[in-house]
C-alpha cells in the first residue's frame, strides 16, 4: 500500500468535514491596544451566525500557565489581530463578506512593543492582574509580578556571582537580540467543533496538546473534562504553533450558537496573528581566569511573550536554565523575565527558548576565547560538564556526552586544519520535567494490536517510532501494530507532544504496558511519571530528567561589500542514545538544521507600531531547497543508553556556529537574524574598531573590556532588577 502522503490521500484537520457544517472567520482588532467602545453586528445578513463579546462574557478565562485570555477580547484589545468577533456562514466567502457588516468603535490606548521598555516604571500595562492557571501545563511555580508587565520571573542563584567576578582575570559582557519568528507550518491552523445532543463538546483539531486543550475548554464552558472530547488528525507541520487553545474556543462557541458543526481554517496571514516565537533580549556577563577556567556567569533575559502569556513562562524558564550552557561554572546568576507587550502572542516554538539563550551564551564563549587568546574549542573543552559534575541547578549530570558531540562537530569541519571562517557551538537543552505519559496496548482478535496513545503526529514520525517500539516488545511485525489518531475518549493521559519527549516517555510506558498485556491477555496499560522541576526563585532542583545534547560546526564566507553570508557547510552532532527510527531521526536532524538556517540568516517578524508588516510567505521567507549548504549530521549512540529525544536539538546550535564563524573573521554580530544589512553594519563597526585600536597603539591605552557598540535601541537597565 503506498503511503498516503505520496498519494495525497492523508487527511489533515483542514480536510475534516461534517454534514451541515458552517465556515468561520474571525474579526480582529486593527489596533495594538484599545478599548472596545461599541460593537454593532446588527447589519450582518441573515443566515450568518455571529459571535460577539457579549455572547462570551460569562465564559471563564483561560490560559495554559497564566489565565489571561477570554474567548473574544471583551472590552480591551491587546494586540493588532486580537479576535473581537467571529462569524459562521455556509461558505467561507460569505463568512468573509459578513465581517464587513460588523461595526466596531475603538478608543486607542498607549501601547508597548519591546520587553525591556515594558518593564520600565512608566510602561503601559497590558494586563492589570495576573491569574495563575490551574491547567496541568502550569507545572512549575508561577512568579508573576502584579502591577507590572512581568508574568513570570525565573531565577538561578548558584554560588555568589559578586565573588565570582571578583576572582576573574577577564570579564566579557554583551547584549544580544533575537527577533520573533513564525512557525509557518505548511498546513494552517484548522479546527471543527460540534455539540452532541446531550451537550457534549467534540472538537477535531490539529493539536500537540489534546489533554491540556481539553482541560482549558472544559474550564471555559464550566464542564467536567469528560464532557469534552478532542480528536487529533495528523498535522501538516506544527513546530509548536498548534498548542493549547487557539481556534477551538471560538469555533465551539459558534457551533453552540448555530446548533451546527462549525469549522475554521486560518488564512495564511492570520498565522502571524495567532502564535509566534518569543523575541528576546539576552545580556551575558562571563568571567574566567587567564587559563580559561570559567568562574562566574550572569545572564538576564527579557522574553517578549506578546499580549497573552500562553506558555511564555515555561519558555522563559527554559531559556533561563539553558543559558549557563553545558559548563562547570561555580557562580551563576540568571534572571529570566517573561514580559507582556502589545504584540501577537508568542508560545512554544521548536527549541522552546533554548535557541535564544544558546545564541547569546555560545557567542559570548567566543568573545571570551578571543580575549584570552585561546582556541574557542579548547576554552569549551576546558569547562565542559561530564558525568558526575553538578549543573548550576544542583542536579548531577548523567549520560552526558558534550565533549564527544563537540569534538565530532569540530572534526567534521576540519577545525584542526584551520579556523578561518569556522565556528562552533555546543549546547544542552532540557526536556519537560516533571511529566507523565501513559499508553494502552490492545490485542485484537486477528493477531493485530492497537495502540491507544495521546501522542500527536505532526510529521515528526512519533507514531511510527512508537509502533516500532511496540512491535519490538510484542515480537511482531510493525505492520501488525496500528496507532489510530489520538482521541481523548479512547486514550490515556499524556502531558503533551512537545519537548522531544514522546518517543522516550512512551517507549518506557510501553514496556510496562506490554508486560501488563501479557498478564491480562486483552489490554495492557503502562504509565511513567518523571518527577522533578525547579524552584523558580533559586533555579535549584531537577531541570530535566535527562538532557538533550549536541554540537554544531559551521563554515562560512562573507561578501564583505554586501554583508551576504555564504554558508559553505554545517554539521551537527546530536546525542541520540538509542535510535529507534533511523530515517525519522535523520529527518528530524536535517529538518531542525534547515529551519535553523532561516533563524540564522533571514527569518524575523517585522513590526511597525505594533502592526505585523510581513505576514505572508513572500515578505517573510522560509528556507527553500536552493538555500541548503553542504549539510551533514551524525547521531551518537551508546550501547544500552536510553532514547534521547532529538526533534529540536539540532536547531539551536546552528545560528551560534554561524555567528562564531563570522567572529573568527573579526565580524561581531549580536542580533538574529544575521541579514546582510546586519552583517554589513558589523563589518563597518569592526573597521571603526580597528582604526580605534590603531589610535590606541599610537597613543593612549585602555582597559575597556572588549565591548562592541550595539545597534541603537534601548539597553536594559539592570540597576532596578536586583532582588
Amino acid at each position: 500500500m503506498p503511503d498516503p502522503r505520496v498519494t495525497g490521500s492523508i487527511r489533515y484537520a483542514q480536510d475534516v468535514e461534517l454534514d451541515g457544517m458552517l465556515h468561520a472567520r474571525i474579526l480582529r482588532s486593527p489596533y495594538p491596544h484599545a478599548r472596545v467602545q461599541r460593537l454593532d453586528a446588527s447589519a450582518v445578513p441573515d443566515g450568518v451566525v455571529v459571535l460577539t463579546p457579549d455572547a462570551v462574557r460569562d465564559l471563564h478565562r483561560y490560559g495554559c500557565q497564566i489565565q489571561d485570555q477570554t474567548v473574544l477580547a471583551a472590552d480591551e484589545v491587546r494586540f493588532a489581530g486580537d479576535p473581537v468577533a467571529a462569524v459562521a456562514a455556509p461558505t467561507k466567502r460569505e463568512a468573509e463578506e459578513a465581517l464587513n457588516f460588523i461595526a466596531v468603535e475603538y478608543e486607542e490606548l498607549p501601547a508597548v512593543f519591546d520587553p525591556v521598555e515594558a518593564v520600565a516604571q512608566e510602561a503601559p500595562l497590558v494586563h492589570a492582574h495576573h491569574y495563575i492557571s490551574e491547567n496541568d501545563a502550569a507545572y512549575f511555580g508561577m512568579r508573576p509580578v502584579d502591577g507590572t508587565n512581568i508574568c513570570h520571573r525565573f531565577c538561578i542563584r548558584h554560588g555568589n556571582v559578586a565573588d565570582g567576578f571578583g576572582q576573574a582575570d577577564v570579564v566579557v559582557e554583551e547584549t544580544y537580540h533575537v527577533a520573533g519568528a513564525q512557525h509557518a507550518p505548511m498546513e494552517p491552523h484548522a479546527a471543527l467543533a460540534r455539540w452532541s445532543g446531550d451537550g457534549r463538546l467534540e472538537v477535531w483539531t490539529g493539536t500537540q496538546t489534546p489533554f491540556n486543550l481539553r482541560m482549558d475548554l472544559a474550564g471555559i464552558f464550566g464542564l467536567p473534562e469528560d464532557r469534552v472530547r478532542i480528536i487529533c488528525p495528523p498535522m501538516g507541520g506544527s513546530f509548536g504553533a498548534k498548542t493549547f487553545v487557539r481556534l477551538e474556543a471560538i469555533v465551539a462557541c459558534l457551533a453552540r450558537k448555530a446548533g451546527r458543526p462549525v469549522k475554521a481554517v486560518l488564512e495564511r496571514n492570520e498565522e502571524w496573528l495567532t502564535l509566534n516565537r518569543h523575541p528576546a533580549t539576552v545580556r551575558v556577563a562571563l568571567g574566567a581566569r587567564k587559563d580559561g577556567t570559567m568562574v562566574a556567569k550572569r545572564v538576564e533575559c527579557w522574553v517578549d511573550t506578546g499580549a497573552y502569556a500562553d506558555c511564555g513562562p515555561g519558555v522563559a524558564q527554559k531559556m533561563g536554565f539553558a543559558s549557563p550552557g553545558p559548563y562547570r561554572i561555580p557562580h551563576v546568576w540568571v534572571d529570566s523575565h517573561c514580559v507582556y507587550t502589545n504584540l501577537p502572542p508568542n508560545g512554544a516554538f521548536r527549541g522552546y527558548g533554548a535557541m535564544q539563550s544558546i545564541w547569546a551564551s555560545e557567542r559570548t564563549m567566543d568573545l571570551l576565547a578571543k580575549r584570552l587568546g585561546m582556541d574557542p574549542l579548547e576554552l569549551r573543552l576546558r569547562n565542559l560538564l561530564h558525568d558526575g559534575d553538578l549543573y548550576c541547578t544542583g542536579e548531577m549530570m548523567h549520560d552526558v556526552h558534550f565533549e564527544e558531540c563537540l569534538r565530532a562537530a569540530a572534526d567534521a569541519i576540519g577545525w584542526s586544519e584551520n579556523r578561518q571562517g569556522k565556528g562552533l557551538c555546543v549546547l544542552l537543552k532540557g526536556m519537560q520535567t516533571p511529566s507523565r505519559a501513559s499508553i494502552v496496548v490492545e490485542a485484537e482478535n486477528d493477531d493485530t494490536y492497537t495502540i491507544r496513545c495521546a501522542t500527536a503526529e505532526m510529521g515528526q514520525g512519533a507514531h511510527r517510532s512508537i509502533r516500532l517500539l511496540a512491535a519490538e516488545l510484542l515480537k511482531v511485525d510493525p505492520e501488525r501494530v496500528s496507532f489510530p489518531d489520538p482521541d481523548t475518549d479512547l486514550v490515556p493521559y499524556d502531558t503533551r507532544t512537545t519537548s522531544s519527549r514522546s518517543t522516550y516517555m512512551m517507549g518506557r510506558a510501553l514496556v510496562s504496558a506490554v508486560r501488563d498485556l501479557e498478564i491480562d491477555g486483552k489490554r495492557g496499560c503502562g504509565e511513567v511519571v518523571d518527577q522533578g522541576g525547579l524552584d523558580p526563585d533559586t533555579g535549584q532542583g531537577i531541570a530535566s530528567s535527562h538532557w538533550h545534547q549536541g554540537a554544531a560546526g559551521a563554515e562560512v564566507d562573507v561578501d564583505e561589500e554586501t554583508g551576504k553570508i555564504n554558508v559553505r557547510r554545517v554539521h551537527a552532532s546530536i546525542y541520540a542514545g538509542r535510535v529507534v527510527n533511523r530515517p525519522g531521526a535523520e529527518l528530524q536532524n536535517e529538518g531542525s538544521m534547515i529551519m535553523s538556517l532561516g533563524t540564522a540568516l533571514f527569518e524575523g517578524i517585522v513590526f511597525e507600531n505594533g502592526q505585523t508588516t510581513n505576514a505572508n510567505l513572500s515578505d517573510y521567507n522560509i528556507p527553500a531547497s536552493d538555500d541548503m549548504p553542504v549539510l551533514t549530521h551524525e547521531l551518537l549512540e551508546r550501547e544500552g543508553a536510553a532514547i534521547h529525544g532529538l526533534g529540536e536539538t539540532a536547531l539551536p546550535p546552528i545560528p551560534a556556529a554561524i555567528g562564531n564563524a563570522l567572529y573568527s573573521q573579526g565580524i561581531h554580530v549580536t542580533d538574529l537574524p544575521m541579514t546582510p544589512e546586519v552583517v554589513l553594519d558589523a563589518i563597518d563597526r569592526s573597521s571603526d574598531q580597528s582604526s580605534a585600536v590603531s589610535s590606541q597603539l599610537s597613543g593612549a591605552s585602555s582597559n575597556e573590556p572588549d565591548r562592541m557598540r550595539n545597534v541603537a535601541r534601548r539597553e536594559p537597565d539592570t540597576q532596578g532588577e536586583k532582588s
Binding site: 503506498p2 529538518g591 536552493d626
Partner: protein
C-alpha cells in the same frame, strides 16, 4: 459559469464562479485534497497541479482559464509511479503536506532533464517549500527516481539491461 476540463483522465464539468481559483474547484467540486491551500500567493507550491502538462500554482489560476485543459494531480499518478516510489524509499517526507507538489515538480523535472545534477534538482524544487525541512532526502528521492526512469526507458526501448 460552466467549466469543462479533464482531471486525471476523467472528463468533468463543474459550475463555478468566474473568480474562483482552480485550487478551490479541484478541492471542493472534484474532492481532490492533494492540492492544498497554504500561501494563496503562488510561492509555496503546495497547490501544484499539471495543467496541459505544465506545473501551475492552482491557487492563483482563475478557474475559467482551465476550460478545455487536461489537469493532473498526484491522485492521477496511481500511487506506484517511480517518483512516488522513490519518495517512499528515500523517506522524503515528514508531515506530507508539501509532498504532492514535490512529486509533481520532480516528475516534471525528470521529464525534461532525465539526469539532473544535485544542484539542478535543488534549483528545480526551490519553488516548493517544505517547512519540515526534508530537502536532503527529497534530492535523494529525485536521484533514485532518475535512475529508475532511465532504466525503465532503456528496458522499454529494448536496450539490453545489465544484470
Amino acid at each position: 459559469m460552466k467549466i469543462h476540463f479533464t482531471v486525471n483522465g476523467v472528463p468533468s464539468e463543474v459550475e463555478a464562479r468566474p473568480d474562483a481559483m482552480l485550487l478551490d474547484v479541484l478541492r471542493r467540486e472534484m474532492r481532490l485534497t492533494s492540492v492544498r491551500e497554504t500561501c494563496r500567493i503562488g510561492v509555496c507550491g503546495a497547490c501544484t497541479a499539471l495543467v496541459n502538462g505544465k506545473l501551475i500554482s492552482t491557487c492563483i489560476f482563475l478557474a475559467p482559464m482551465a476550460e478545455g485543459a487536461e489537469i493532473t494531480t498526484v491522485e492521477g499518478l496511481g500511487g506506484s509511479h517511480p517518483v512516488q516510489r522513490a519518495f517512499e524509499e528515500a523517506h522524503a517526507f515528514q508531515c506530507g503536506y508539501c509532498t504532492p507538489g514535490m512529486i509533481l515538480t520532480a516528475k516534471d523535472l525528470l521529464d525534461e532533464n532525465p539526469r539532473p545534477s544535485d544542484h539542478e534538482i535543488q534549483l528545480a524544487l526551490s519553488g516548493n517549500l517544505c517547512r519540515c525541512g526534508c530537502y536532503v532526502k527529497i534530492v535523494e528521492a529525485v536521484k533514485i527516481a532518475a535512475t529508475r526512469l532511465t532504466w525503465l526507458h532503456h528496458t522499454s526501448s529494448g536496450t539490453s539491461r545489465a544484470r
